[in-house]
């Protein structure tokens, strides 16, 4: 798939199938890009002249903004297309959307779509690079990468760490990208949540399973706490948000029972008092805002690499060269 010198092929659809070298190359490429966001003038000409379409068929605030900052700080020209309905309900099929984009000779598409497989569908039909910004329950690879980068920042290495993803695993693209990425880098991965919100056989995905959060906390070095979407309660997967918090909520009291310090991640947006208590989210072991900061750097790295950039030249590129 990947050409010599670049860890990615044409697209980034998911972390499944990427090996440790590829993932580490992306994370290493993100390192020099972190600094750009700290500058007074946050702009480098790496993607000057490239056109990128941010195609969001599902509502998104932080992912869309994070991509947009990454693109603008790399000097790409960007267009945002947002539609809360799917292309189908709007009357235009995804394949027609793809053909229209192709006809306008754009360089990259960043797409969020409600259907699993939609990113791959698009990538197979247009020559432009496609970055999956979340497809249904399938994958959200840049979220997985920014989670990996954040864990590595704080723990030095991923290998050998015990990471538990807590919450709605079944419907979560973040969970799937995390599982594949963490496992590729040698972490032990567990999932924890009510059985109604776990995949039918989580062990199939290579995960240890906990149904009680206390057990997960006792086991883990890192907790990645997922948002419980209100619609899951409405659909009857859990009886009430209050009960969810009492049984699966990550609270300070539960964390204090653990012998080790546990790093706390959350992909946002948080439901304070549901899956995570405020004193945990705002507490000393929370790295939730570091995740947001790293999101921009990781997305810069992915865009740079898909444009043909090489990891070892990222530092130089940032000083004024182009990809």
């Amino acid at each position: 798939m990947s050409e010599p010198g670049t860890p990615l092929g044409k697209d980034l659809i998911g972390l499944e199938g990427l090996d440790a070298d590829q993932i580490l190359a992306i994370l290493d490429t993100a390192e020099p890009f972190k600094e750009i966001s700290q500058r007074r003038i946050k702009k480098v000409p790496v993607l000057r002249g490239k056109t990128i379409v941010n195609l969001f068929f599902e509502a998104s605030t932080r992912t869309r903004i994070s991509f947009e900052f990454a693109e603008k700080r790399l000097s790409a020209d960007t267009v945002n297309i947002s539609s809360t309905g799917s292309s189908v309900t709007k009357g235009e099929t995804l394949v027609d959307t793809a053909r229209n984009l192709e006809a306008m000779s754009i360089d990259m598409v960043v797409m969020r779509h409600g259907s699993s497989g939609a990113a791959r569908f698009l990538a197979e039909r247009i020559p432009s690079n496609v970055v999956n910004a979340g497809d249904g329950w399938h994958e959200h690879p840049t979220q997985g990468l920014l989670d990996l980068l954040t864990i590595r920042d704080h723990r030095g290495s991923i290998e050998g760490l015990k990471v538990c993803i807590v919450g709605d695993i079944l419907h979560s693209r973040v969970a799937r990208s995390n599982i594949h990425g963490l496992r590729a880098l040698g972490a032990e991965v567990a999932v924890c949540g009510p059985r109604t919100l776990l995949p039918p056989v989580p062990e199939d995905l290579g995960c240890v399973v906990f149904t009680r959060v206390e057990e997960a906390i006792e086991w883990a070095d890192v907790l990645n706490v997922l948002r419980l979407q209100l619609e899951r309660m409405e659909a009857g997967y859990v009886p009430s948000l209050r009960e969810y918090n009492r049984i699966w909520g990550v609270s300070r009291k539960r964390l204090e029972a653990a012998e080790r310090e546990i790093l706390i991640l959350h992909p946002g947006p948080m439901n304070r008092g549901v899956e995570i208590d405020s004193d945990v989210a705002d507490g000393p072991h929370s790295v939730i805002l570091n995740q947001v900061t790293n999101g921009v750097a990781v997305r810069m790295a992915v865009l740079y690499l898909l444009a043909g950039g090489q990891p070892e030249k990222a530092e130089a590129a940032k000083q004024g060269g182009e990809a």
Partner: protein, 427 residues
């Protein structure tokens, strides 16, 4: 008009009478006149050299979707019936989940008339169990039978209301027709896009568990036992489902059942890459289930092989997986797929295949055909069991192209299809 046709020197396989020998078959006036070695061709007889070919009672598919009325962009009764004969089928049973559904005698008469007008395979209408396929009260079953309905089903949807299913199984007995059911507990499978398992977990697609089908199969078997009615279970895809039907048959329950070619040769792995041509309902399941369905066909637990031919326009399948409809076309690949991958792999022998694709379907739905006995309808399929070909949906007679077998190398394909003593297709 039908003519005198002599099929000379083929391997005649007529499982109903235990025939498997090189013989000649003489057809005249729409019926089988004689099957014997060395029949003389009287003047004016059309002689077909069948050396190296298999000559058998015409194949019968008790489960096809012809989409007319309402979705003629996918298929019509005429194109479906032509697709059937191109695949070696001489009779097909048209499912009633059209728009509007075939739930009254006029609609049944329309399907039968269009089938006759097309002049390819015999088209037998199947009527709805419930009015409007709404699952609430019985359709006009008796009047539909008078117009030619050979069975009833709400296929595409199950009959969820057990009370209604009981009534259907009781009421249908007056007319000697089977009640066919699509076994699926939709409470368990409502949003499912594929088989629930490792592949669905990885792809992030909602799953349909085997239990959704198993529960419904067991319920239908219990109701058939309760009522003494004839239940026909459609497209059985699960290991437990096959085992349940086997046990019910041992108890004497009046049950017949189908296996689809795709459930005999494909697993849920075929969905990898979000291939919408591998999206169907019931979904492709695990190798264990495939093995059980194969064993069920081999021992006769699953009486019939039926395609569940389900045409869809390419626009509709060219979509994100969840947005694509269920179903694949099957009429023109069934014989080749079953010969190559089921007979070819030693699961069943060739006479058993013909039994499951001709004799048993005729028996299950009470149709003429399924035999080459003298005086029976001159519905005959001739196929070359050694011809190799590559599946090219562009060459299909069907209006639709949605096949998971695209590009497959198959061995065995029909060469002549005869319906009512008339050659309706030769390839």
């Amino acid at each position: 008009m039908s003519e005198r046709i002599l099929l000379r020197g083929g391997r005649v396989v007529d499982p109903g009478r235990g025939v498997d020998a090189v013989q000649d078959v003489l057809l005249a006036d729409g019926t089988v006149v004689s099957v014997a070695p060395g029949i003389e061709a009287a003047e004016g007889t059309h002689v077909l050299d069948c050396d190296g070919q298999v000559v058998c009672p015409g194949l019968i598919d008790v489960h096809v979707h012809l989409r007319e009325p309402g979705e003629e962009h996918k298929e019509t009764i005429a194109t479906g019936a032509e697709s059937a004969v191109a695949g070696g089928f001489t009779s097909i049973c048209a499912m009633p989940n059209t728009d509007p559904p075939i739930d009254d005698p006029a609609a049944v008469g329309f399907v039968a008339a269009e089938g006759r007008r097309a002049g390819f395979a015999r088209v037998y209408p199947v009527g709805c169990i419930s009015a409007g396929r709404a699952g609430e009260r019985l359709a006009l079953v008796g009047e539909m039978v008078d117009e030619g309905a050979v069975a009833i089903t709400d296929d595409g949807s199950p009959v969820m209301n057990s009370g209604l299913m009981r009534l259907a199984l009781e009421y249908a007995q007056a007319f000697g027709i089977p009640v066919a059911d699509h076994p699926e507990d939709v409470g368990l499978s409502a949003n499912g896009q594929m088989n629930e398992g490792i592949v669905s977990s990885r792809l992030g697609l909602a799953g349909k568990p085997n239990a959704a089908e198993d529960i419904h199969i067991v319920r239908d078997l219990l109701l058939a036992e309760l009522t003494g009615g004839h239940i026909h279970l459609q497209h059985v895809s699960t290991s437990f489902g096959v085992a349940s039907i086997r046990r019910a048959k041992e108890r004497g329950v009046r049950v017949t059942a189908e296996a689809s070619p795709h459930h005999l040769v494909l697993t849920h792995e075929a969905v990898e890459g979000y291939r919408t041509d591998a999206k169907m309902n019931p979904p492709l399941r695990t190798q264990e289930d495939v093995d059980a369905v194969r064993a069920g066909v081999a021992d006769g637990t699953l009486d019939t092989i039926a395609t569940d031919h389900a045409p869809h326009h390419y626009d509709e399948k060219e979509a994100a997986f969840a947005d694509a409809p269920n179903g694949i076309v099957g009429l023109e690949t069934a014989l080749g797929v079953v010969l190559t991958r089921v007979v070819g792999e030693g699961v069943i022998d060739l006479p058993t295949m013909i039994d499951r694709m001709s004799c048993q379907p005729a028996r299950a739905f009470g149709l003429p055909g399924g035999t080459l006995a003298e005086g029976s309808p001159a519905d005959v399929t001739v196929f070359d069991p050694t011809a190799t070909w590559t599946v090219d949906p562009g060459a299909f007679r069907s209006k639709s192209r949605n096949s998971p077998f695209t590009g497959w190398e198959l061995t065995g394909r029909p060469t002549t299809t005869i319906v009512g003593g008339r050659v309706v297709w030769s390839g």
